[in-house]
Structures are given as C-alpha cells and as structure tokens.
C-alpha cells in the first residue's frame, strides 16, 4: 500500500463505517452495562468489552482486506463461493445449535456464523457471473443460473432454519434488475406480496373478485381507446391469481410455523381471539411493545447517555443485538435516531453512487450488492424495532452486538472499498500506458 492508494480510498465511506461502528458500540455499552460506577470499558466479560475486541479485530481485517490485490476477489470469487457453500453445508455436521438454529461454528472464545459471510461470497459470485461477457441476464437461461447462485445459500440457510437471514438474499433481485433483469420479476414479487397480504386480510374470494373486476375494467378501458388487447395473458393472470390466492391460506396454515403466523397476525392485526392475542402480545408482541415504548419515551432529545430507564431496566429483550436501535431511540431521542438513520442512508446512497461510477461491471455489481444487502438489513431491522414490520430477527449492520456479524459486514463493505480504490488505479494505469 503506497500513498497514492491511500489517497484513492473513498475515505467518506470509511468514516461513515467507523462512525456507525462507534455509535453502535456506545449503545451496546449503555444497554449491557450493569452499574454506572467506574466499570472499565475493557471488561471482557461484558458485551461491550467483547464488542470492543471485535471492533479491534475488524480493524486488522480491514488492513488485510485492503492489502490483498483487488484482482484476487474477482479471480477467486468462484472458489470463495464454493468454500462458503461448503461451510454452510458443513454446519449440519460440525455446527452448534443455539436456540433451535444450527447456524454457528463454535471456536471457544468466539463463534462464526457462515451465513453472514455467505452474503459476501454470493455477491462476489454473482458479480463475476453477471460481468461475464457471455452472460445476458435478459434471457431466461442466464436468469436461471443467477438464481441458482443466490438460491444455494438460501437453501442451506432456510435449513438452519433462519428465514430472516435467507430473506436478505432477495436483495440480489434489485442488483439483477439494475443489470437488466426484466421488470416482470419485480412486479411479480410485488404482486405476490400484495396478494399474500390482501388474501390474509380479506380472504381468497374477495381478492379474486377484486382482481377480476380490475382486469375487466382494464380490458374495457383498452377497448374504448380502440387499442388491441390480447385476452389470453389477462385470463392467465386471473387464473394464476386465483390459484395463488386460494393456496395462500393453506401455505400460511401448513407451511408456516406457528411463531411466524403469530408475528404476521400481530402485524396485520388479524388475530381477533382476545386470549390468543394477549398471549401473542406477551410473547412476540412483548419485544415490539417494549421497544416501541422505549423509543417513544426518548422524546425529542432523549434521556441522555446511560440514562435510559428502560434500557437500564433491561425491558427490551435482545436490546444489545437485534433491538439495539431502541437504545438509540430512548437515550438519544428523535435527534439521535434521525442522525443514525441519515448516516445509514448517506452510506447507502454513497455506495450506490460509487457503484455507478465503477468502470468494471464486476465492481459495479458487487457494489450494488453491498448496498442492496445493507439496505435490506437496515429496513427489516429498523422496521421491526419501530413496529412497522413483523418481527424478523436480523441484526442492524455495524450496530448490533456480535463478532461474526460485524466482521461479515466489514468484509462485505471493505472488499468494495478495495475494488473502488483499485478501479481508479486501473484507469490511471491505462492512461499511462497510452502515453
């Protein structure tokens, strides 16, 4: 690493990263400290002490990641991907089961969650595949292959089972769309979600009636404008709707697990049995309720560092991990939460901006993947903590306690920072060569 390389690094992204990690640690400190009287921040028996170690190790990782030749990531993306898939598969033999999930390799002092690293590996593999001049994502053949790349880790992660983490891989759809995937997929996805939710709320019959009316109106409207309209796709759409819609209830009742059903019922306010409802509220709804109340009690400027009464009282379960944002809300108030959200958004938009600036398609796809994955994590996590989305247990990147998560996100981000820094290098090399 020489001076010119240091100058080429996008320091803005690096600063945003460290800011988020720092703010995250401050809040982990606050939510896991047991008494306020002169405890050392290096108390490694505490979450905040451990997290400090993880952050220290991350810094070493960053240096390593940046030191490795940028070409390495593209060249070895296939192998990295295969190793990652193997590690996901191997978990069922060598892994450790915690709270019903087989997602960890236990190394004594720390554990590794291969699912977290699979995101980087998949992003690299997809970038490599899409940047191949042979690949044209507009065609079904290539789409299928791309979906396979994404599907393999999803398959293993679903087996763990960790549907929350698996869901994050859907972020790649946006990456593929950017690279030319027909918009039908997005529409179909959106349509499925709407169909699913509306069927649960209104029932299959009414949804089919509504879709039928909608299609008929559309057909008549086109006719009046004297435009040709093919009836076949419309009928197909209607039939698909009917089939999907009528199978939603079955899927929901038989494929989904009870705690998933409860979460969705609570979210969509579908549960009307008061006994069952209060039970859900006490179990799954409890987290959301406590987290919302904690955030709400923060008010405009918050209660101040270490002054969050609900944080201190340990009212919000999993507050140092998935619910870390509720500490921000309680102790730093609206001002603090807004700043954190803006920092995230700034980072995401910066990543998208950098990606679009890439000369190599590989770097662009990879950068896009980073932004999309971080965005999914951000949206699902904060949406859950502030009570807008159903409970899905995934961490807030850079914020939540946990070495595996922090390192995986660091790896994901800094590989792109390396690619980005190198890209300008390539361009300069090229420039010099011409002269």
């Amino acid at each position: 690493m020489n001076n010119s390389f240091v100058r080429k690094i996008d320091w803005l992204t690096v600063i945003l990263y460290f800011l988020l990690v720092f703010i995250g640690w401050v809040n982990i400190y606050s939510s896991s400290i047991t008494d306020n009287t002169g405890a050392s921040v290096f108390d490694f028996s505490q979450f905040y002490g451990k997290q400090l170690t993880f952050i220290g190790l991350s810094t070493i990782f960053i240096v390593l990641i940046l030191a490795i030749d940028a070409k390495f990531y593209q060249r070895f993306s296939g192998i990295i991907y295969l190793i990652s898939i193997a590690s996901l598969a191997g978990i069922f033999i060598f892994g450790k089961t915690i709270a019903g999930q087989t997602a960890w390799y236990d190394f004594g002092f720390f554990s590794i969650q291969p699912g977290e690293f699979a995101k980087t590996a998949t992003a690299l593999a997809l970038a490599e595949y899409l940047s191949d001049s042979q690949t044209n994502i507009k065609y079904r053949k290539y789409q299928l292959k791309a979906f396979l790349i994404i599907g393999a880790p999803i398959f293993f992660i679903l087996l763990q089972p960790d549907p929350g983490s698996a869901m994050v891989f859907l972020a790649f759809i946006f990456v593929m769309y950017r690279e030319g995937l027909p918009s039908t997929y997005l529409w179909a996805g959106l349509g499925l979600i709407i169909l699913f939710v509306s069927t649960l709320i209104f029932g299959a019959l009414w949804v089919c009636v509504a879709v039928f009316l909608f299609i008929t109106l559309y057909y008549l409207w086109r006719k009046r404008k004297k435009k040709m309209v093919s009836v076949l796709p419309l009928i197909t759409l209607l039939i698909i709707t009917a089939i999907v819609s009528s199978s939603v209830r079955f899927t929901f009742d038989n494929v989904f697990k009870q705690h998933h059903r409860d979460r969705i019922n609570l979210w969509l306010k579908l549960e009307h049995d008061p006994n069952r409802l209060s039970e859900i509220r006490r179990s799954i709804g409890y987290n959301t309720y406590q987290s919302e109340s904690a955030i709400s009690s923060g008010g405009f400027s918050g209660k101040g560092f270490l002054q969050g009464t609900r944080t201190k009282g340990g009212f919000v379960p999993e507050q140092h991990t998935d619910y870390i944002f509720s500490t921000v809300g309680e102790e730093w108030g609206f001002v603090g939460s807004t700043i954190v959200i803006l920092l995230f958004i700034f980072l995401l938009l910066r990543l998208l901006f950098l990606s679009e600036r890439q000369k190599s398609k590989f770097s662009r796809v990879y950068g896009y993947s980073v932004a999309a994955i971080l965005f999914f994590h951000f949206t699902i996590n904060i949406g859950m903590v502030i009570g807008l989305l159903p409970t899905v247990g995934i961490p807030l990147p850079f914020f939540s306690y946990g070495g595996s998560g922090l390192w995986a996100f660091t790896l994901l981000l800094f590989v792109f920072i390396k690619l980005d820094a190198n890209q300008i290098n390539e361009w300069e090399d090229l420039h010099e060569f011409h002269h």
């Binding site: 008494d35 946006f174 769309y177 950017r178 030319g180 406590q290 919302e292 109340s293 955030i295 709400s296 009690s297 923060g298 008010g299 405009f300 209660k303 002054q307 009464t309 609900r310 201190k312 009282g313 340990g314 009212f315 809300g329 108030g333 609206f334 939460s337 807004t338 959200i341 803006l342 958004i345 995401l348 938009l349 998208l352 679009e356 896009y368 932004a371 999309a372 965005f375 949206t379 904060i382 949406g383 502030i386 009570g387 807008l388």
Partner: protein, 619 residues
C-alpha cells in the same frame, strides 16, 4: 430508470421511518420521566396530625396497626395449619385470600390480613421469618381518646375508586378523611407523603435510586389541629341527650367558635377504626330509625317556631313600624280577615315588645309582621325588605362553617308567593304564620344558634367555625375572624335581649333559673309530621330553646332541639340551662334539673309511629 429504482426505494423507506419516529417520539410521547413504567415510586407516609380540643385535651391520636402482606411468587410451602391458627383464619380463608392476591399480581405485594391487633401482632412477629413471601407492614390508624363528638371528628377510611378518579393525588390503599374535621381539614391533617423513585428492571426488581434521588421528596408531617370544641361541654351535652333525639349547638358569640355540636343519637368514634370499621359502619348506616350518622345539629331543618319572634321584633324596630314601647292587646289570639291565630295570653293582656317576647305572644308579632309588610306599597316589596333582613342573619343560605355538611334552610321570598298565589294576589295575612317562625320558614339548629349569638352580640356575628389553631397558631382566615354585621342597628337589640332575659326571669322559661347567671332565652315548639303507611301524621311537637348568657357580657349562645319533646321548657330549656351553667361555672348546681334530664327518655315517644297502633301526641 433501472439506476434510480433502489435509490428511490431507499429514500422512500427513510421518509416512512422518519415519519414513524416522529410519531413515536414527538407525538405519542408522554414526556414526563415519572410516568415511566421502569420507575417505581415508593411512598413514605407521614403521621396524620393530632386533634385537640380548645383546652388542649388530646381527642384523636394515632396507633400503629399491622397488615400481613403477601408476595405470592415468593411464598414457599408452609405449615398452613399453624399459620392459619396464628392469624385466626380458616384454611378456606387462606386459600381464598392467597388466590385473590395471586390473581392481582404474583410479583406485587397484596394485603393478606389487614389490621392485626397488637396482641395478634405480638404473637405473630417472631414467627414471621418462617413464612417466606409473607411480611408485616406497619400502618397508622386513628386512636380516639374520647367517646364523644364522632360527628365532629369524622373518621378515616381507605380511598374509594371515586376518590381516586376525582383526586389523582391519592393511590389505592391510602387513607382519606370522611366526615367532620377529618374530611374538611384532610389536607392539613394528612401532610404530604414523601416519594422515592426507584429504577427497576423488567422483573420488577429494584436496581437502585433513579437519578440519585433527584426527584425524591421527604414526607411532610400532618399538622396538629386544635378545635373550638370544649370536650367537657360536648361530653356533657351528649350525656344529657341520651335517649333523646335532637341537637345542641353552643357558640362563643365573641368569636364564632363552636363550643359544642351535639347530635343525638351518636356513636363512639372508636367503632369506626380498624378491622371492625366496615361492619360497624354498615350497622350505623342501616339504622334508618335512629339514624346515628345523621348530624341533626347541621342537617335537620325545622320550622324555628317562637324563637323566630325575636327576629320579627328586630325587623319591626329597624323598619320603624314599632318601638319597644309599642303595645298590642292580645285577645287570646289575633284575628285577621275572617281568620284567627290562637295565643295562650289571657284575653285582654296588653304587651309591649319585652313582654311580648317574654310571654311569646303570637298576637304581638303577627301584628308586627303585618305592619312590616304593609309599610310598603305592595306586599312583595314588604316581604323583600323582610327577607333581606333575615338573610343578613345568615338564614336561608349555607352559613359557611368549616364542616363538610350543611343545609341552607329556607326563607321564602316574594317570587315564591307570586308563584303560589299570583302577582299582587297575596297579602301579609296570607303568610302571617311567618311572623311566629312557622309556615315556609326552615332553619337548622346551627343557624338558630348563630341568630342567638347575634342577639348576644347585639348585631353582628362571626361565621361559626370548628378550627381554632393549626400547629398551635391561631387561624387567620378572614372568613372566620372578620365580624359580619346584620342590617338591624345595634340599638334595636337591647330591648329584644331584655325581652329574652325577662322570659327567663318571669316568662316561659322561668323554671330553669340558675343561681347567679343571667340568661336570655326564648322557648319554642315546632309542629312536625311523619308518614305512617303513606298518610301524613302529626307527631308530638319538637321542644326548642335558644339562649345566651350572661346577658350583660355573653360568653355562650346556645340552641337546643329535642325531637318530639313537646313544649320548649319541657326538655330544651333545662338542657340549655345545664349546658350554660356547666360552661360558665364548670359545675352544675341545679342537680334536680340534671337528674331529671339525664334520666328522661323519649324512646317511648319515638316508638309510637312504629307501633302500628293509633297514638296520641302532645301529652
């Protein structure tokens, strides 16, 4: 378009999230850190203030009481048989109480057995350690040093749901004053509870003081109060009223201080303390015949009868329609139009004002009343002038004393007669019974005592009150320390006072003479009715007497009502005389009167309407 999709979604999500956060933190936020569920408030209750009488005798103190509390979650298997024996409860009680506490909350303390006696506590105290999850909590209850004046003192009770709704300063389980001074001076007696804010965790365990006690407050003890009541006089009055119903109100005219406020029948204030309170209260409450919870001195409205004649005289003088020397000949009554009002004067008796009062001559005051009303162009104007004078005596409205209950009484105004008879369709003769305190006029005993105090003061009064000192400092409330003047001039009072003195010397009250005390008095009777099987039935008249003494320098003004006691000098006057002598001399010389009054019982009279048989009255 493809390049912008993700960025657009990111921006939209951000806006939605910021919107949600503004709702949660800026709109839905309650603001106060003290509303926080993570903060527990622990209260430190101060001792309630003591109550003394005007001579410094302690009437009401406090005594510790012990509640057995339970935290169901902490209860470990125990020897229920032994425990139940200690607490004097059955096994079924135990299970019922435990279930009730558990349903309320497994983690929070509930009262298991309330208000143990000292003996029960002593027996239980050392064995308590054996029973995990149970502990004893000390509370403070009232300790009465007197058996009298329950109607004045009131009692304390756990706050009701209604109190909690009306007054957010109270919390469930706290005590509140009911009736009497306990209710009226609740804020002074109660003091202010101290509060400690404790940070707790989600298991409701204490994890330390919130913000190092920044918001904590210390309890402010309740203040001691001294009442205007003379406990000896009060006690004596209650003894005199045994087996009778009615009230005695004694006021110190120079200050408006209420010396005694007797209602009969009464009850021992200790009945309403502790575990037996609820049972006893129910018993008192449902005694709808004797009605011991009904404070007759403050609430009973009677037609005042003859004592009212003094007021007619005073207004006559003020309105210049009579002079003290004006004479009226009584023809064993008074005829007006084609009607006749009877009087017990012999036919042809000539009375001036003094003798009119002394002999309680109906004709004299009927004629005076008629002159007052007819002085004005219309009866309405005349009655308005009359009514205005009466109101300045504190009649027809609440007196404004410092006890929580009262009645306004009634003084009819011209509107009332306009409505009843039509405008200009009524005359002085229409309502001439007003002259002698009958008809529509209603007064409470305390109002009548106050009128007597006004005559004793020759024209002014202090609003009667029960509170003398707070923490040994005399009260400064202008409402009670500023004299109120009536619309009748001072000079007119002397003849009336002399008339009352003559009633005592030679008139209707001569039988109660007390050696060495000049008493001004006025007897009265009031007709009254009840319903038996839905029919209006007349009962024996109420015996009424008002008096002040000594006439030359009054120290006490008194009104006595004895229900169904017949004429004024039969019961009310002797009782008033005994009270006056007791107060002024400290002892009673008229032992004959005392014996007669203490032994007299009207229970037979009171039983008449309930006997189911026809009965005779006024015998």
């Amino acid at each position: 378009m493809r390049k912008l999709l993700l960025s657009s979604i990111i921006v939209i999500v951000t806006l939605i999230y910021l919107g949600r956060l503004s709702y949660l933190q800026l709109i839905d936020n309650t603001g106060s850190p003290l509303d926080d569920t993570a903060i527990k408030q622990v209260y430190d209750y101060p001792e309630r203030g003591y109550i003394y009488d005007r001579n410094g005798k302690l009437l009401v103190a406090n005594q510790p009481s012990y509640d057995v509390m339970v935290i169901p979650r902490d209860v470990k298997p125990l020897d229920t048989l032994e425990f139940c024996e200690l607490l004097n409860i059955t096994r079924e009680d135990f299970i019922k109480k435990y279930e009730k506490a558990r349903i309320y909350s497994p983690r929070l303390p509930s009262v298991f057995v309330p208000q143990l006696s000292k003996e029960e506590y002593a027996a239980l105290q050392e064995k308590m350690r054996k029973y995990d999850g149970f502990y004893i909590q000390k509370r403070s209850l009232r300790y009465y040093q007197t058996k009298h004046g329950a109607n004045i003192l009131g009692y304390i009770q756990e706050v009701s749901d209604y109190d909690l709704k009306r007054n957010p300063g109270y919390r469930p389980g706290e005590l509140i004053g009911r009736q009497g001074v306990e209710e009226y001076y609740e804020d002074i007696l109660r003091g202010r509870k101290g509060v400690k804010f404790i940070q707790k965790d989600r298991f409701n365990r204490d994890i330390g003081s919130y913000k190092n006690g920044l918001y904590d407050t210390l309890p402010v003890p309740g203040k001691d109060i001294e009442l205007t009541i003379d406990n000896e006089l009060q006690t004596y009055g209650e003894e005199l009223m045994i087996h009778k119903r009615g009230g005695i109100i004694a006021i110190e005219p120079k200050t408006g201080e209420i010396l005694s406020l007797v209602t009969a029948p009464n009850y021992d204030p200790s009945l309403l303390v502790g575990r037996k309170r609820s049972k006893n209260y129910t018993k008192l409450y449902y005694d709808s015949i004797a009605n011991p919870l009904y404070d007759r001195g403050l609430l009973a409205m009677y037609p005042p009868g003859s004592p009212f004649k003094t007021l007619t005289g005073l207004i006559g003088l003020q309105e210049n329609v009579i002079t003290p020397e004006s004479r009226v000949t009584c023809y064993h009554g008074y005829s007006y139009g084609n009607r006749f009002m009877r009087c017990h004067c012999a036919s042809g008796t000539v009375n001036d004002l003094r003798r009119g009062i002394a002999r309680s001559c109906n004709a004299y005051f009927a004629s005076t009343y008629r002159k007052i009303i007819e002085k004005y162009p219309t009866s309405a104007e005349g009655l308005t002038a009359w009514e205005k004078h009466l109101r300045s005596f504190g009649l027809g409205d609440f007196l404004g004393y410092d006890l929580p209950i009262g009645k306004a009484g009634n003084i009819p105004d011209s509107d009332y007669y306009d409505k009843a008879y039509g405008k200009r369709r009524w005359y002085a003769t229409t309502n001439i019974s007003n002259a002698i305190g009958q008809g529509e006029i209603l007064t409470t005993p305390i109002q009548l005592a106050n009128v007597t105090a006004i005559i004793a003061n020759r024209g002014y009064f202090f609003t009667p009150h029960i509170l003398r000192k707070i923490d040994n400092k005399p009260i400064k409330d202008k409402k009670f320390t500023k004299p109120k003047y009536t619309t009748v001039d001072r000079k007119h009072f002397e003849p009336v006072a002399q008339g009352m003195f003559e009633a005592y010397n030679t008139g209707t009250a001569r039988g109660i003479r007390v050696e060495g005390i000049n008493i001004g008095g006025k007897t009265g009777t009031a007709e009254n009715f009840t319903k038996v099987d839905g029919k209006r039935v007349q009962l024996t008249d109420h015996s009424i007497f008002v008096a002040f003494a000594p006439v030359e320098d009054p120290k006490i003004a008194i009104a006595v009502f004895v229900e169904n006691g017949y004429w004024g000098s039969r019961y009310a006057a002797p009782i008033a005389a005994l009270m006056i002598e007791k107060y002024l001399k400290g002892e009673v010389t008229r032992k004959d009167l005392e014996k007669r009054m203490l032994e007299a019982s009207l229970e037979e009279e009171y039983a008449k309407p309930y006997s189911g048989k026809p009965f005779r009255i006024n015998e």
